[in-house]
């Protein structure tokens, strides 16, 4: 199931909230959450629920047994084996077909390609479990004694299928005992509505509009069309994914869980390095804490470590060569930035930085979007006027003219401008009251209600729209 879906919104969520709040006991509440999370997962993936449950109990057991042992070698041995097992399961489901396919081409043999299908969310919950056992090993967090509480952590529907990759240590307290408050609930609703609006109002439209260019026969695609198409895709993927994260965080707050932010206005960055500090933060920090630093970080084999992280980041996004190219592309950019550009940062005018960032990010998305690498290169060459049929075309002109408002609104939504405006309103209106509500809250509530109503209406018109990050 996904959040931006009428069935989730009007059936699953109200029933779930009702049961959760009507029961006044933490244990039963946990039971409600576990059962409903499993139902949430089973809705669409009934068989793979076994993999999820096995993963949870396996890693629960590993956590407990690492903690029990004092001997450093044994602890390490268990950890290494457990990580291998986790990665193996992920690899089996996600990369096996890709691997055999390439092996067949490489060696000219004919191994059967088994395509069992990818259990939804496996990339996310595998990483959650790995972060947990490593943290237990490092002594950063105590092992969870209750298998059901651990299952709750792994399976909680808020972040089960598309992240964020919530660390156990960040929610340990919430799992054991959480405080429910009106304040948290209000914030949660607000967060959820904004996420829903991002997905339904912006991302899904951008997806529709981008087809005009991205589904075009590329031999007829003009330069301007290529830029417009990939810009719309950049808008789509940001609003889609950050919208999902917002909804997850919002749901968490409604139920008393606190998750860290996953996005921090990534498109206002000025370099690829900065972009990755702001984009999908839970993934970047996972690779930093569990791969980059253990490999030696910037102390030894610095460049190799960066390469490993980016190959993995690329592959994590999908078992396809274009994601590998995409990862290597960012590796190259990050190395160039680290050793050259950022050293002369001050000498480069701001506007050049901004231009540089827009170009490198959009080119990056080209490789992310196209599963065919040759098509991706063709697209990039069109962007730079090589082999393009023309600079512009009447369709592109009409199109940009009609949809300019949308693009501008969406781009403003990528920046903190709206947040700043609300900050100002809050500053000046907080003291004013209408009845028992403060004016700034009333303004915010009105805007949120409008977004909610528009989102639901637009959802009715949109058929099934899974999230982009759903397939990872």
């Amino acid at each position: 199931m996904v959040f931006s879906n009428l069935f989730f919104l009007c059936v699953f969520l109200p029933i779930n909230l009702f049961l959760y709040y009507v029961i006044n006991n933490n244990r039963y509440r946990n039971a409600v959450l576990i059962i409903s999370s499993l139902a949430f997962y089973a809705w669409g993936e009934p068989i793979w629920i076994t993999v999820l449950i096995l993963n949870a109990f396996f890693n629960y057991f590993i956590g407990v047994s690492i903690e029990k042992r004092r001997d450093k070698c044994k602890r390490k041995g268990i950890l290494v084996l457990a990580i291998i097992a986790n990665v193996f399961v992920l690899g089996f489901f996600k990369y096996f077909a890709f691997f055999t396919e390439n092996l067949n081409t490489l060696l000219d043999i004919n191994l059967p390609i088994i395509n069992i299908g990818l259990p939804i969310g496996i990339s996310f919950y595998t990483f959650k479990s790995i972060s947990y056992i490593v943290d237990v090993y490092r002594g950063e967090v105590a092992a969870q004694k209750s298998p059901f509480k651990f299952l709750l952590y792994v399976s909680l529907f808020h972040h089960l299928v598309a992240g964020p990759i919530v660390r156990y240590k960040d929610v340990e307290q919430d799992i054991n005992k959480r405080a429910l408050s009106f304040e948290s609930f209000n914030n949660g609703v607000s967060c959820f509505i904004i996420g829903l609006g991002k997905k339904v109002i912006i991302a899904n439209q951008a997806n529709e509009f981008s087809k005009a260019f991205l589904n075009m026969d590329y031999s007829r695609l003009p330069v301007l069309g290529a830029w417009a198409g990939i810009l719309l895709f950049a808008i789509e993927i940001y609003f889609d994914f950050s919208g999902y994260s917002d909804m997850a965080i919002g749901l968490g707050k409604m139920y008393g869980f606190n998750y860290k932010e996953n996005f921090n206005y990534p498109y206002i960055a000025k370099s690829a390095t900065e972009f990755w500090r702001r984009w999908h933060i839970s993934l970047t920090s996972f690779f930093k804490d569990y791969v980059y630093i253990p490999l030696g970080g910037n102390r030894k084999f610095h460049v190799r470590n960066i390469l490993v992280v980016w190959l993995l980041t690329g592959l994590w996004h999908g078992a396809s060569w274009n994601f590998v190219v995409w990862g290597v592309y960012f590796f190259i950019l990050l190395v160039i930035e680290k050793f050259v550009l950022l050293k002369i940062e001050k000498k480069i005018p701001k506007i050049i930085w901004q231009l540089y960032f827009v170009v490198v990010i959009l080119v990056g998305w080209v490789f992310f979007y196209h599963t065919s690498i040759s098509k991706a290169f063709q697209f990039v060459s069109i962007m730079f006027g090589i082999n393009a049929s023309s600079w512009s075309s009447p369709e592109v002109r009409i199109f940009l003219n009609s949809y300019m408002i949308f693009i501008v609104i969406a781009l403003i939504g990528c920046t903190p401008v709206i947040k700043t405006i609300f900050g100002r309103i809050k500053g000046s209106m907080q003291k004013k009251q209408i009845g028992s509500y403060s004016v700034d809250q009333l303004i915010k509530s009105t805007v949120n209600i409008a977004i909610l109503i528009v989102s639901i209406i637009m959802l009715v018109g949109q058929s099934y729209n899974p999230f982009l990050y759903f397939k990872f």
């Binding site: 009007c10 089973a42 068989i47 209000n186 199109f399 949120n448 209600i449 909610l452 209406i457």
Partner: protein
């Protein structure tokens, strides 16, 4: 904050009310008038569908398809989109995925109307018998990726689909017709009439070049045909009359007037005298908003809906429409569709969606014609009645090999047909799926 804020209250209220309303509302619609399609029906609970998960995805789709007040919300949704995001200008482009095509395939529920309003002419088959549900379309080749987008431009209150010449598809059409020629060419003359669309004739002002030349495309096609195939030039006569009301503004079809001009071209090709229009009695159907209106939901089109003028046949005829093994008598101009919202064009040839159909006239000249057509043919065929004794009509999308002859060559032979005419419009020539079903008709052994 010791209280729920208004947005949290509204949120809980809205989701709960909508949830309850959808449970209470047991009267779930079967079709969407707005979108002109059948809605998802409640899936059956089966072990297999539950295990592979399809039950759940079907249920989710069913839930949103039958959401309370869906058609009305859809309309509001379109207005919101236009007001929020789309700048008013003299032209605008709508892009749409063609794989979910509306192209004139009537929706499933038409069956019901038919059962209610007509009596099967063959009394021995009771209406209640289960209709064989075997593959209604002869092909299920995968949809060709790449020609998945269509562009619609709205200009001066008219919706126009931009024509994008795709050489491969045109080669394929010629190839398919040449295949027909190989099989039946020696026995009967073959005519091909390609109907251009309105994008060729609408004034696009500053945006010349936005749509490819259909005249060139037709010329290209003609150059690829085998010699024995006679191309009917409908283009020139339509071009001559381009300022008349020959295309709908809100629908992708030509009007009956447009079809009439194409008919005169056909007659000219055959060296016969066309019947003049003043011999026909006309009926008028007002307030027609058709397929391209549904696609674009454009206000300027809505403000100025189309009028359908239909020309009533003056020769006596019997129109038998087969639906699988059942046969119905139908009217050439079937007014039962005049009361629908988006489907008024279906008055022509009573939707033209029979598995196959036969029109017998009072003429006794021994001329028997087979028309293989898409929906452009529906308004064209009525003009042919004065010239033939029998007219057979086949739409490749509805033909069924199990109910009638295995392929068209046998069909032609068994019915004693002595002339074959193809009437297809530009976008179907450009549309793989349609062409594949056309190919299937002759390929099947």
């Amino acid at each position: 904050m010791k209280r729920l804020q208004l947005d949290a209250i509204a949120f809980l209220f809205i989701i709960a009310v909508l949830g309850v309303a959808n449970i209470i509302n047991v009267n779930k619609p079967m079709v969407s008038e707005m979108e002109n399609r059948a809605l998802k029906q409640k899936p059956e609970l089966k072990m297999a569908t539950v295990l592979d998960g399809s039950y759940f995805s079907d249920y989710t789709e069913y839930y949103s398809d039958t959401f309370i007040l869906r058609d009305r919300l859809l309309k509001i949704s379109n207005n919101i989109q236009q007001v929020l995001f789309i700048k008013e200008s003299d032209v605008k482009i709508i892009v749409s995925d063609k794989s979910k095509e509306y192209i004139n395939v009537p929706k499933a529920t038409d069956d019901k109307n038919e059962d209610n309003k007509e009596n099967p002419s063959d009394e021995t088959i009771p209406t209640g018998t289960s209709i064989p549900s075997s593959t209604p379309t002869p092909t299920n080749n995968p949809y060709n990726e790449g020609d998945g987008v269509g562009y619609w431009v709205v200009v001066d209150g008219k919706a126009v689909e931009l024509f994008k010449f795709n050489k491969d598809n045109f080669d394929f059409y010629a190839q398919v017709l040449n295949k027909y020629n190989q099989k039946i060419g020696g026995k009967v003359p073959i005519y091909s009439l390609i109907a251009p669309t309105n994008s060729e004739f609408v004034q696009l002002r500053n945006y010349k070049g936005i749509t490819d030349s259909q005249n060139n495309a037709i010329a290209y096609l003609n150059s690829k045909f085998s010699e024995e195939i006679t191309a009917v030039n409908a283009y020139d006569v339509l071009n001559e009359h381009k300022d008349e009301y020959i295309y709908f503004r809100s629908d992708h079809h030509w009007t009956a007037l447009g079809a009439y001009y194409a008919y005169t071209a056909f007659m000219e090709t055959k060296g016969e005298e066309p019947i003049t229009l003043d011999q026909y009695e006309t009926v008028t159907i007002n307030n027609f908003l058709g397929s391209t209106y549904a696609k674009t939901m454009d206000k300027s089109i809505e403000k100025n809906p189309d009028i359908i003028y239909a020309y009533l046949p003056f020769v006596n005829y019997k129109y038998e429409k087969y639906r699988y093994y059942q046969c119905f008598d139908a009217d050439i101009i079937d007014m039962k569709y005049a009361d629908t919202k988006l489907d008024k064009y279906l008055v022509f040839l009573s939707a033209g969606d029979g598995t196959w159909s036969k029109i017998s006239t009072e003429n006794t000249n021994g001329k028997k014609l087979l028309v293989i057509k898409d929906s452009y043919g529906n308004s064209f065929v009525p003009f042919l009645l004065p010239h033939y004794e029998e007219i057979y009509v086949i739409d490749p999308r509805f033909y069924d090999f199990n109910t009638s002859e295995k392929n068209i060559a046998d069909f032609i032979e068994s019915k004693g047909i002595n002339e074959v005419l193809f009437v297809n419009y530009m976008e179907n020539v450009n549309y793989r799926e349609f062409m594949l079903s056309l190919e299937g008709l002759i390929n099947n052994e």
